[in-house]
């Protein structure tokens, strides 16, 4: 394993039998799993190159059990890794050898649907898609739609601040959650926010969202639901050059149009997708844009016309406009199947997730081409073009010695390039273990210390999901010290009253 995880605590491992027994006292029956065979499914999440059996798996089904498990672990100094559906692409739910894996899979109930306040109160193990399905009969849906939405849990979405193809217009998870019940590592149960648009006091919901399971374990979530747009239509536009496609994206935004979704694929991605799903993608273009407009029919019709004019002005070589739901879905089919499609043409692939300023796209793609030659590995690019979120898929074969390491080094270089171009390491997949050691590319030690101090406010012993997000662990006492700089007043003229 290329990524170092915190050293195992032998004293904890030596007490394993007693710990398992104590956990059985809290969560009865099959809720505690300690046999190697039965723990196998929990060894890994969506970042499958990394595996680690946990010390024990616990599957509570009440908030009180979660609280007691955490309180026990806190008192005993035992690490805990929370897990939803295990679809994280950054290793956020990778277990620790000396840690309890706390699965929230039994929290599967939607507790309340409140159409008047336009919210759903749900347990964290409910899948993203199930929320939309539960309110579809009244024309509502839950807007963030990560591509794993059939499987990923809403608790995991909150932990990772998940996005999706519609987040340019409708926001990420953080823009669509209002409140939660959270259990701190101490076992304390807190309610944050609720059905109101804003929390009182500091925006704790905002900081919990996207904290990658390091601050607390969420046992209930209140999400906003929206009315489904009346119609959606899509354009599929091909370009002979990536630069022209990038220009088209900039001009659409510049014209004040915020599409429901705006996706770009490069030639290798187009070919892989077309071979897989036969969506009718043009094969002689360098870049393909799928642009979806949603809203009232008259609005969509007019905006489709405006986007068509812009695309032609940017020199599009092919342009199709969907005339039916079936056709719109076909346009999307290739894009939505891009990852498995690439999986067909390569034994393994790594999916990267940097964000860049949209305008830097041609530069970024040129750099990725050069790196592809340097590392002698193929790459296919899919891109949430509307919000600058790039997903290069690096093709490799794990059975060839050294190839996975080469792929990882290639990926790290792509992310460094994103930061250099004014972007960030991760747009929606999270840091986890995957990008943990790249954090200093983007943040100074001072920046990271401030983030870790916040962690200390929630979990002073650092027992919850350690080894994720932060490249270096510090003790809270050390982080909390204030250094008095000299004591000389730099601004002695400061007014005092």
């Amino acid at each position: 394993m290329a990524i170092m995880m915190p050293a195992s605590d032998q004293a904890v491992l030596d007490r394993r039998d007693a710990i398992v027994a104590a956990l059985r006292g809290i969560v009865p029956g099959e809720g505690v799993i300690d046999s190697a065979a039965e723990m196998l499914p929990y060894e890994s999440d969506g970042l499958m190159a990394y595996r680690q059996p946990p010390m024990v798996v616990v599957l509570p089904d009440t908030t009180e059990q979660v609280s007691k498990v955490l309180k026990y672990c806190c008192e005993q100094g035992i690490k805990v890794v929370p897990r939803g559906s295990g679809t994280s692409l950054s290793g956020g739910a990778l277990p620790l050898a000396d840690g309890v894996l706390l699965g929230l899979g039994k929290f599967k109930r939607i507790r309340e649907i409140d159409f008047d306040n336009r919210v759903v109160v749900t347990e964290p193990g409910v899948t993203n898609l199930a929320i939309s399905q539960a309110v579809a009969h009244a024309g509502f849906y839950y807007a963030p739609d990560p591509s794993s939405q059939i499987a990923c849990s809403i608790g995991g979405n909150v932990a990772e601040n998940s996005g999706g193809v519609h987040c340019l217009k409708y926001g990420m998870t953080t823009n669509n959650v209002l409140g939660c019940e959270i259990v701190l590592m101490s076992g304390e149960i807190l309610r944050i926010g609720g059905k109101s648009a804003e929390n009182a006091g500091y925006d704790l919901m905002g900081i919990i969202t996207g904290s990658e399971g390091l601050l607390g374990v969420i046992t209930e979530i209140t999400v906003r639901i929206l009315q489904k747009p009346e119609t959606a239509r899509a354009l599929m536009v091909g370009f002979a050059e990536v630069e022209a496609a990038g220009e088209c994206v900039a001009r659409i935004i510049g014209a004040g149009i915020i599409p429901g979704g705006m996706e770009m694929m490069d030639k290798p991605a187009i070919h892989a997708a077309e071979a897989f799903v036969h969506a009718g993608y043009p094969l002689d273009v360098e870049a393909l844009l799928i642009i979806e407009l949603d809203g009232p029919g008259v609005e969509v019709d007019e905006l489709i016309g405006r986007v068509e004019t812009i695309a032609k002005g940017c020199g599009s070589t092919t342009l199709q406009i969907s005339t039916s739901e079936a056709e719109r879905n076909l346009f999307w089919a290739g894009r939505k199947a891009a990852f498995p499609a690439v999986g067909r043409i390569s034994p393994d692939y790594l999916c990267m997730d940097g964000t860049i300023p949209r305008g830097a796209l041609p530069k970024a793609l040129a750099r990725i081409r050069d790196l592809s030659a340097k590392y002698d590995l193929r790459v296919a690019n899919v891109f949430h073009a509307g919000d600058g979120n790039l997903h290069p898929l690096i093709l490799y074969d794990a059975n060839q010695p050294g190839e996975m390491e080469r792929a990882e080094a290639f990926g790290a270089d792509i992310l460094r390039c994103c930061v250099e171009l004014g972007g960030v390491l991760t747009g929606e997949h999270g840091v986890g273990i995957e990008k943990r050691d790249l954090m200093p590319e983007m943040f100074s030690e001072i920046d990271l210390n401030q983030q870790q101090r916040l962690k200390c406010a929630f979990d002073a012993q650092g027992l919850l999901n350690p080894g994720k997000v932060f490249p270096t662990l510090h003790r809270c006492a050390e982080l909390g010290r204030v250094h008095v700089h000299g004591g000389r007043l730099a601004f002695p003229e400061l007014p005092r009253f």
């Binding site: 807190l190 949209r358 979120n389 007043l489």
Partner: protein
């Protein structure tokens, strides 16, 4: 007395470090337009940021602007307006309500985090702050977030900075999301509804697919000091319920027709357009019926945030119990209440009602004496209050920044 002219983040670090060394709590101000908000502070020195006023970068096609915290909000708004863009959360201008001049700075806008009518559709200040450079109470300049609209790298400290009233860190530069301005707008007007019925009408509109971007209700009393754009509503003495639709003209017109049908059970619908409509919504955003220069200028003003469908009943009850006036925004989820003066500004009664409705309330306007005696910000439950204090201390352990502004216990 002179105020140090801080020119950059380094200067701010120096001032904060000096304050730590001499244990002098600092009051952080931009233009000082919201100094009257909060508990009276236990600070005895001022850190003024108005010289940090540069626009670092404005990239309309990337939908972002990076600007120093002391930049005047009005200037930044007119800059982005020149590219037909806006802050979609409609930041409130508190000057009329507080009786001061000027809309303040970008840093103040984020620190206060007061969003206008479009919050129901576009989110609040916290949803539009993408990145920040700030100096913590450790005296260190740190950055968080980024300069792109989609980012999950590290903890999102921006969320905490927005609405923290300067108690966590001194922001020096922020990157904000900007969005295209709608090409046109329509406002549907219903007359004569009581608060609870109006709340139902707004709930019906917000539960429709017509993308309503403003839902407000003005009981008839709100017109007794009708100010600014509300004059365009005519027919004083009648309660008025307002629903806004924005977008390209064809779409706004089409949806106005559809929404009108949805609202038919609530009465006859009039439709107002563009400039008239815009003036009404900025009056609501800035709570002009309760302006300091108006008839209710001496009354304390509360800002209540609650589950939207319970707003009508809550506001009506408060109004009856206290003899005060209320206006509703956010489909009932935001209630502005101006209550007849009392030493406690009706805090006990109001908070009991608000708690029962699952909301929270902040005393936005009151005399210094009243603010000394009342919890300006909504008291939180034990565990959440303790966590909030640990969060605050993780940024500012010596309590140097705006000490006591949020918590009465610390101020006294």
């Amino acid at each position: 007395m002179d105020t140090p002219r801080v020119r950059d983040a380094k200067d701010v670090e120096q001032v904060v470090r000096a304050a730590i060394a001499s244990e002098q709590p600092l009051e952080i101000i931009g233009h000082g337009s919201r100094r009257l908000v909060g508990q009276p502070m236990a600070t005895n020195a001022v850190l003024e940021l108005s010289a940090l006023n540069a626009v670092t970068a404005y990239e309309p096609n990337e939908l972002i602007i990076t600007v120093q915290a002391g930049a005047p909000l009005a200037d930044v708004l007119s800059l982005i307006d020149s590219k037909d863009q806006q802050f979609a959360f409609e930041p409130m201008d508190t000057s009329a309500l507080l009786g001061v001049s000027g809309a303040g700075t970008i840093g103040g806008m984020i620190g206060a985090g007061l969003a206008g009518p479009r919050r129901i559709r576009a989110g609040g200040a916290r949803d539009h702050l993408l990145g920040a450079h700030a100096v913590s109470g450790f005296g260190d300049s740190f950055k968080t977030g980024g300069k792109v609209v989609k980012n999950v790298t590290g903890y999102d400290l921006c969320k905490l900075l927005a609405g923290s009233w300067g108690t966590l860190a001194v922001m020096t530069e922020v990157t904000l999301k900007v969005m295209p301005k709608p090409e046109s707008e329509r406002t549907l007007v219903l007359r004569g509804l009581d608060d609870v019925t109006a709340n139902r009408a707004m709930t019906a509109a917000l539960g429709s697919p017509y993308d309503v971007s403003g839902a407000a209700h003005l009981p008839h009393q709100a017109f007794r000091s009708a100010a600014g754009g509300l004059a365009g509503l005519g027919a004083p003495g009648q309660a008025t319920t307002l629903l806004r639709l924005e977008g390209i003209a064809a779409s706004a017109a089409d949806r106005a027709g559809s929404l009108g049908k949805t609202l038919a059970p609530f009465g006859t619908v009039e439709v107002l357009q563009d400039a008239v409509s815009a003036a009404i919504w900025s009056s609501i955003r800035d709570v002009l019926p309760f302006a300091a220069q108006g008839a209710l200028g001496a009354w304390p003003v509360w800002r209540i945030v609650c589950p939207p469908a319970s707003g009508g009943a809550l506001g009506q009850q408060l109004s009856r119990d206290t003899g005060g006036d209320v206006i509703y925004d956010w489909g009932g989820g935001l209630i502005w209440a101006a209550l007849p003066p009392r030493p406690d500004a009706h805090a006990a009664l109001l908070r009991a009602r608000v708690d029962a409705a699952g909301g929270h309330a902040m005393l936005v306007r009151a005399s210094e004496l009243v603010r000394r005696n009342v919890d300006v910000f909504h008291p939180q439950s034990g565990g959440v209050a303790a966590l909030s204090e640990r969060v605050r201390a993780s940024f500012d352990p010596k309590n140097i920044l705006n000490r006591g502004r949020l918590l009465r216990a610390v101020a006294t």
